[in-house]
């Protein structure tokens, strides 16, 4: 029979997933029984290593009602307008960065399609090519830049999460392929990274590889089988690629890259064997309640960061241009329709209500991060959470003066608790460069970046 170390099952803890109850993680969940010793040992091992920095990007569509978002005062003494009021208890943990612009989202002669461009440019900094499908092109997104540089340090180089799948049919936005408005993460300039919207599947991917309950010998056989299958298909793909035209070769390149990456991942898992995988309880699927859906995803990000399964994540709360109804908070109109408020006060109030709802979920996420002890601080101290949109006001479709919030201390590299206003037209991409520096993934340029953001650390 198998003799494996006792895994601390966080099952009980996970039963609280997605609820408003603070998730008791490692320390908190350990009763003063025999389990404690193991937990302490784990933690000691964890702190012995340098605590890593994490980076997450949360996207909300259709802009934000800016008068209810932007603090009037600058600096540490900033005020909290109605949408942000609910983050009072985290006021020292985040900063509001006003005045940033994403130029890639602008028309530049391409006409309508601000929603598609906003999502596609948010993290890539690029002006996406206008096309229904042939030759989609944006750029490598900031999260993927980091994933390609430091992703090999963790089992998953990055996580891509969302709540709405890509559009099922139809033209997404004025001649732009739906790939643009549904994906914030781009692995190459032509490959958006599909996001996972089902918490159960995220969970399975992170925490179970289907080999639970298998003996070590069976598991080793399975790994060997997988490797031999991947070797086989790699040969097929290499052969096939030689016989194709240029466009088709690009598709095969995507395939080849993913095969190689999967091989590496299998090797990494193998090297880490003996650890086994935690035996968590699975979320059942996509919850009917949207808030619960977002919170489950937030929980999973927290768990993935905490277990150092990945350090990089994107999370699209709703696709750009989403016309979702928020009837559960008393806003039954579609979000996108409402966002064209025509300065109607009533509509603006409803937009503000939707923004408020999204920020409440952010609050849940921050709370989870902050209540997770790690080393001599909390997980939030070792993270950088960027939240916002590449549309300012949904009615004006402007791409400057964007709503951007940055939470966490980034392992001491950020000094939150302030409202900073940057000079008009300061590229949002400068912020991404600054974050990439803090992920040990510096690059020279992203889109229209013209430097690093100043003042992020006091």
């Amino acid at each position: 029979m198998m003799h494996k170390p006792w895994q601390i099952s966080r099952r009980a803890a996970l039963k609280g997933l997605g609820t408003a109850v603070a998730l008791p993680l490692l320390d908190a969940m350990l009763p003063s029984t025999a389990f404690t010793a193991f937990g302490r040992a784990l933690q000691a091992a964890e702190t012995a290593k340098k605590t890593p920095n994490r980076m997450a990007f949360l996207y909300v569509p259709n802009g934000v009602h800016m008068p209810d978002w932007t603090p009037t005062k600058l600096g540490a003494d900033f005020d909290l307008p109605p949408i942000l009021q609910q983050l009072e208890e985290f006021k020292q943990d985040f900063m509001i960065l006003s005045g940033l612009a994403q130029d890639g989202a602008r028309a530049h002669g391409d006409g309508g399609g601000d929603h598609a461009r906003a999502m596609a440019s948010f993290l890539t900094g690029c002006h996406p090519r206008k096309t229904h499908g042939a030759d989609i092109k944006a750029g490598v997104s900031a999260d993927q830049v980091a994933a390609q540089k430091v992703g090999q340090l963790t089992r998953f180089s990055s996580l891509e999460l969302g709540c709405e799948p890509g559009a099922q049919n139809g033209n997404c936005d004025s001649g732009y392929s739906c790939a643009y408005s549904a994906n914030s993460s781009w692995k190459t300039e032509s490959t958006p990274v599909a996001k996972e919207v089902n918490p159960r599947l995220v969970f399975e991917r992170l925490f179970s590889d289907g080999s639970e309950g298998l003996s070590d010998a069976t598991r080793a056989k399975r790994t060997a089988a997988r490797k031999s299958v991947l070797d086989f298909v790699l040969e097929d793909a290499t052969q096939l690629k030689r016989r194709l035209g240029s466009t088709d070769q690009r598709k095969l390149d995507e395939y080849l890259t993913t095969v190689r990456e999967l091989e590496q991942r299998i090797n990494r898992v193998e090297q880490a064997s003996g650890q086994g995988l935690p035996n968590f309880a699975k979320p059942a699927g996509v919850p009917g309640d949207y808030g619960e859906h977002i919170r489950l995803m937030a929980d999973l990000m927290v768990l993935a960061f905490q277990s150092d399964l990945t350090r990089i994540s994107t999370f699209v709360l709703a696709n750009e241009g989403s016309n979702k109804s928020y009837a559960f908070i008393g806003v039954s109109e579609g979000h996108h329709d409402l966002s064209h408020h025509g300065n109607d006060k009533e509509k603006q109030a409803k937009i503000s209500k939707i923004n408020h709802f999204h920020v409440a979920q952010l609050g849940y996420f921050l709370d989870k991060l902050k209540s997770t002890r790690e080393g001599d601080g909390t997980l939030l101290d070792h993270a950088m959470i960027a939240y916002g949109s590449a549309i300012g006001d949904g009615n004006a479709h402007n791409h400057d003066n964007l709503p951007i919030l940055l939470a966490g201390r980034g392992c001491g590299t950020l000094s939150p608790g302030r409202h900073i206003r940057y000079e008009k037209e300061t590229p949002l991409n400068n912020l991404w460069l600054s974050l990439l520096d803090r992920m040990d993934s510096p690059i020279d340029k992203l889109g229209d970046s013209n430097g690093r953001l100043k003042e992020l650390s006091a």
Binding site: M1, H3, P5, I8, R11, A12, M29, T33, A34, A107, G109, G111, G112, K130, H132, G133, A134, D135, I136, G166, A167, N169, G170, N171, S174, G175, C178, A179, A182, T191, P192, E196, V197, G210, G213, R226, S228, F232, V233, D236, A237, L240, R243, L244, G245, S246, T247, D248, K251, L252, E254, Y255, T258, L262, N323, S325, A327, S332, G342, H397
Partner: protein
Amino acid sequence: MRVFTLASGLLSLGLLVIVFAGANFARGEESAADPALAEAFAGQVKPFLKKYCTHCHGGERPKADLNLEKYADLAAAAKDRTVWENVLENVRDGVMPPDPETKPGQAERDAVTGWIGKQFTQIDCGLAKDPGRVTIRRLNRTEYNNTIRDLCHVDFRPADDFPADDVGYGFDHIGDVLSMPPILLEKYLNAAEQIVDKAIYVHGPEKTPLHHVDAVDAGHEGGSARGGGWAFPSSGAVFVDFDFPAPGLYALRGKAFGQQAGNEPARMAFRLDDKQVHVADVTAVDTEPMVYETQVRVGGKKRFSLAFINDFYDPNAPDPKQRDRNLFVDWLEIQGPLDGPPPAPPESHKHIIFVEPDKNNHRECAEKILKVFASRAYRRRATKDEIARLAKFVEDAEGRGESFERGIQLAMEAVLVSPYFLFRVELDREPNNPQAIHPIDDFELATRLSYFLWSSMPDDELFRLAAQNKLRDGDTLRQQVLRMLKDPKSRALVDNFAGQWLEIRRLKTMTPDPKRFPGFDEELRQAMLTETEMFFASVMDEDRSVLDFIAADYTFLNERLAKHYGIQGVVGPEFRRVALSDPDRGGLVTQASVLTVTSNPTRTSPVKRGKWILEELFNSPPPPPPPDAGELKEDEKVALSGSLRQRMEQHRANPSCAACHQRMDPLGFGLENFDAIGAWRDRDGEFFIDASGELPDGSKFKRPAELKAILKAKKDDFARCLTEKMLTYGLGRGLEYYDKCAIDEIADKLGKSDYKFSALILEIVASDPFQKRRGKGTE
């Protein structure tokens, strides 16, 4: 979607602009020199550019890197198709020149857009036709599921858990758009493992049925949950009630550890009902819990429990670690019968492993089996080399002491993850020569056919014809298409073509406001979908005229939906064909599914409905609103007191919006008698519905039936639109300007065949873009 010109009769709908939206022109071919075009370029276009464009888009540092000064003559201009296409869109939509520059008048704009349209879309259909080129296409989720069903004979839909496929040109199976994110390959690998496990039976201990229960989920007597396991500070038990299916030998297991104290280890009793069958000394400690097992002969319903039976507590023991003995249980397991006969292999197993090897011919059998499997999976003949490489999996497995069947499983896994399976590969002898036009081979044609009509792989008959190279013989292709349309698998056209063309896939995400529409529920949602699906299927199955899509005197209803429509005499939950006596109801635009997806959650949207008609029935979508158009200010009084129609008419007073809204809004007004979930209404709140309207061409209507009659009379426009949609779907690529000739021909023949559905499919299958391909030009 329309990539070439021209308003094709849509002028009658008042469409004055050239519709040309596709935005992508593969290459910059020059059309035959035409003196009128040269004259137009010199006489109208160049002066226009100079007057309105080149002071920004010219000189040393042209804005947006667009230099419009460099085109000295027609020959120079004709080389840059994409540039002009872009110019067309910007000028047509009024985006350029931007405020506050002087704006050209309508006549000037028409002259320029007219020239671009003619210059870049005039094609001589008498010359060698360009069939275009389909980018290598990976199977989308639907195609993957269907193909697995037909290839492996398993009832299993692994792709339901794959990430959603991105959409381009209105459909989710466009080769250019379908990418291969890393997560997908993981899914393919996992799916392959599960598929072969279901399809092929491999005997082994792990195949013995196993019942596993986590201690926290089991029944309990005493103790409490601790960190995911169950802890017993004093005596107690965890148990599970189990019906041992057949008398036989079963393994009972429990994973546990003890907090040790006193002079003996923690003890865990295995019990069946009240009978103790085994006692384990649980010497394991928290850092390394162990699995304890016993085997017993048993049958029938029993309670299996694991009990802590030797509690120890001495608070005065000198060593604090020796004061308390406790037991922790993680899980319980029952496996068996261990000595039963192996179950019969599933049908799929017999299908795939159609020869049983004896002692001496394993290699030969493996090759036979894998040749058939790989050829079907790759949709062509597998090569000798491929078969040999696959057979090696069997050899290696047997070399490791595993079974023949296990080896076949591994080879199948490799096939199912191979690019030859996951992608639909079509090869060119000269992959980078755009002039090298050639017919696709019979296997490729069979594959195009089957994915077009079935969203799945070819069946045995298609494979047989392809192998004999007879698919194009005489009347064969036609016979095959008709056979395929009759096959139940052609239901895929309803789900995938109609579901996307009509946008009704979105129905499942629609959220009508429960306050305003309390009658809307899941049952109604499903009924709406079923109506449209059955209606589409009836046109297909009965080979009716596609014009019935616009207006028909029948539909499919059950009691729920009939009541929603206010139609009497339909009783019971089952759907049936119902003749419609009310001419206002009937045809796609009056079906609740379409009416709901084109509404806002709280109200109807005449704009969305009008846009839907233009886009989906006439492939003539209005351009997007110019980015600087801003929002119209509502007249306070009207906003407060007017009907929706009055308020919208107020909006249309703005000339910058009027041109397009004059096309969209009247169409939508004509459907105002249908509320936001498709029920009939005579008034909206306090206002009577006014469903009359006038289209830009002057045709007038008073109610939905009359609007539909006007639309139905635009036969050729609709036929052309449906041709374009269906061709896009059939090819899996966006249409290009050079497809114009094929579309003309198909639409023309469709009209000559009384618009019969089968004619549409047959003509598409017979067309050059479907039958041929060419190499890719350099970009």
